[in-house]
Symmetry: C2
Subunit: 479 residues, 2 copies
């Protein structure tokens, strides 16, 4: 993304000129992320240090969060403890935790040393939650109000305490035993009369999440209930954190990326694509290729067992690729639709029969269309000698008694019927496997399309060669 | 999703008992979407009508939005115009537009007739924006304030006018020529002193979007800049709408689903999976299978041209499936990573050389690992007679001069080397094609994995059979 108001060169120029006024103005009119990206490309870390010295800390705290991990490292190394402490002071605990996750161990220690004492505890706690749980994305800086306050009192409390909180748009309401009893939307508070009690304007139909819940579940809850923020409870049902919708936007995107990777047979990357090293990336890709290579042995076995037949009637060979491709493609279509439907909770494993029935009808129609089309196409291929039917001694010899057109039609129908059945098998396997995996409470995205393809390949080959034996029993040698 | 507080049966029971008090209480403590799902399963529409009669309109307006399109239809048909008008009065324009999109034409007319007059115009305008544009997801009910107001004046204005607006958390600030000059976050307003001018507390580093922009671009902007809401401008740079982050959550999910479908070779569904009819679904799936079937002709052609060679050395045949699967899988991995990286704007087409260089190194390492593994695996397969090397007249005859182990090693190396090169081709094509399509400003997800597979298949087969001719020139018949 480009921002015409700012560039690395322009910033460097302004810093060289020590044009403090203009630089400060940039921070007012240009979004921080755009400035951060310009800063990431600075030739020398001294430019960045200059900026941190002259710009207000409310801006530099944001800037620090948005910098790349390399810039962060360089900056921390170049700063004194006092300077570092000043930056950390204006940051939210969950942002510091995100920063820490990018940094090498020695810098983590230095950062933690310079975090205000009262914050260190919650940061340490946040660091201990497992990746991808609600705990790992929540913040501990949320606002609670007692349910017996009036609206005016509440607004005054918010003015006093809200500044250091992640959000004041959703406020948690507790009773005097500190139990969560409701959530309060800031807009309802603004619209309320000054003397109305919070307990009368708060929402009692709130939902909560457990700190150990998967972030994907949290995202689904917030989406379903259109929430700005959700309360995070621990196992004793105590309120311990808050997750805001902007964190969820990232989760949804990240989970979709992860599902896509898994389905394509790439182990999920811990970091972004660009931040994943070459060797690591190869290690994410290679194992799945090897597993599928092993699974592919079944197809090879079948072709090997039927080698006599393929030698006797070599026209069977060129169609093998078409059969395998189409089966794989049809399986991939269904697997993708099913895995995605499960992920966005459009349906559940218990809807299996309903979905299967739908997919089988889709498969029947799709198969029929493809079958009719392919019969014509294959006849054309053979007629135009794209796939040569004659010219082979064996084929000619064994087929000499047949009118050529009939023999061609027979082959075309053999392949097309196999395609038809292959598509049905593909949609059946592509529906059933992800549903089965989901019903076992595992991630259905693990059923990658290549895996379904492999199964469908085997079935298609068996159908194909089995039919070939029935049709051409007089020609083909015994197995 | 289950909610233990509510079920269709329980609601039906309460309605039969005319337990108005309990039903009203349910609306206070249970999220509306959960109630709506229970209502969708009512046996008779009269239950739903009862609810709409006894529950406060602030709740029923939400309930109406969350109902399935069937329930909405039934309800509208059963209601009088006055009842319908009452529901529509408390709904936001963009929600009504969403409702209308689900309804048959005759009901659309009836709904529009009963919408308050002053709203009808903006609804008609919203209905005219093309699907997937900013205009199609924006609302026209946003709040603007003049920049010369004080904070206290602003809060009073918000109290007066904010209730009918989609959000008051982000307010647009205009000058007296009605030009957008900034955005105001409600929290900044709350924290400001009462006499501070809005122009001093507003954000000037705001971003905007054009009404014709694609919703995916809007989502990317809001994500990048962590926005609660974004201003939508028309071509004359006039403020005409607002998009809130909760709409974006749906967009992000929808776009990810669409990309996944496209990449799996399913034309994007206009409705959700369950709402797409069987025939329509088949029509989404079949064309791509046919296109790929046509593209697959190239592989068939190659196999057909080399038929003599495959008959002469039939052990070459079983490995064809392995080659094609692995090439396809490797290509799918890269295509997915690249298409996704482009979609989430991690990189752009102009980063092509950088990404290609990375993918080629990944391909080299991945290929090497797979190559070493597969050599051993193939030797094992042949040694264990899973793929039978001997037992064929032709094979035996032509290979009679060779020690069996050497012949097996030669075959294993031939296949493994082809795998290695195939993986490199796959990652090259899988990187280049999506990048090329993106640089032409088309959606890179159109480069579905099956499409890449088809190209890689052809290359792998040519490499495989070409090498075979070099290695076994003494055995294989002339082409």
């Amino acid at each position: 993304m480009e921002n015409e108001l700012i560039s690395t060169e322009k910033l460097e120029q302004l810093i060289k000129e020590k044009n403090v006024k203009e630089i400060r103005k940039i921070f007012e009119v240009v979004p921080t992320i755009d400035i951060a990206e310009a800063c990431d490309d600075f030739e020398d870390i001294s430019y960045l240090i200059f900026i941190f010295k002259i710009v207000k800390s409310e801006y530099t705290a944001d800037l620090f969060t948005e910098l790349s991990s390399e810039s962060k490292e360089d900056l921390i190394l170049a700063m004194s403890d006092a300077e570092l402490a000043k930056i950390l002071e204006s940051q939210f605990a969950d942002d510091i935790v995100d920063d820490l996750e990018d940094l090498p161990a020695n810098l983590v220690t230095r950062v933690l040393k310079n975090v205000p004492k009262e914050r260190r505890e919650s940061i340490n706690r946040l660091l201990n939650y497992k990746d991808n749980t609600a705990g790992s994305i929540m913040t501990t800086e949320f606002l609670t109000l007692l349910d017996n306050l009036s609206a005016d009192e509440a607004i005054n409390m918010i003015r006093k305490e809200g500044k250091t909180k992640e959000t004041i748009y959703t406020i948690f309401v507790i009773d005097n035993r500190r139990n969560l009893v409701g959530t309060l939307d800031l807009d309802d508070l603004i619209f309320a009369n000054g003397d109305e009690k919070i307990s009368d304007i708060m929402n009692m139909d709130y939902v909560t999440t457990n700190v150990m819940d998967d972030q994907e579940e949290v995202a689904n809850l917030m989406k379903r209930y259109d929430l700005n923020a959700i309360a995070v409870l621990n196992n004793e049902n105590r309120l311990i954190g808050l997750i805001t919708v902007d964190d969820i936007v990232d989760v949804i995107e990240q989970e979709a990326t992860e599902d896509m990777s898994k389905m394509a047979g790439v182990a999920p990357l811990e970091n972004s694509y660009l931040e994943t090293k070459t060797l690591k990336m190869a290690l994410k890709c290679a194992p799945w290729l090897m597993i599928l290579l092993i699974l592919g042995t079944f197809s090879s076995m079948i072709l090997s067992k039927f080698e006599n037949a393929l030698s006797a009637l070599p026209i069977l060979v060129p169609f093998v690729t078409v059969l395998m491709d189409t089966g794989g493609n049809a399986g991939g279509q269904t697997t993708t639709l099913i895995v995605r439907g499960l992920a966005v909770q459009e349906f559940e494993p218990r809807d299996y029969l309903k979905i299967l029935w739908k997919e089988l009808r889709v498969a029947f129609l799709t198969g029929l269309m493809v079958c009719i089309f392919s019969t014509i196409w294959f006849l054309g291929e053979m007629y135009l000698n794209i796939i040569s039917f004659d010219g082979y001694e064996i084929a000619n010899e064994v087929l000499s008694g047949w009118p050529l057109f009939l023999a061609r039609l027979e082959i075309a129908l053999l392949v097309s019927t196999t395609l038809f059945l292959g598509i049905i098998v593909a949609k059946f396997v592509g529906t059933s496997l992800p549903m089965l995996v989901a019903s076992l409470k595992k991630d259905p995205a693990l059923i990658s399309s290549p895996f379904v393809t492999t199964i469908v390949d085997v079935c298609s080959l068996l159908i194909y060669l089995g039919f070939a034996y029935i049709l051409f029993s007089n020609i083909l040698p015994a197995l």
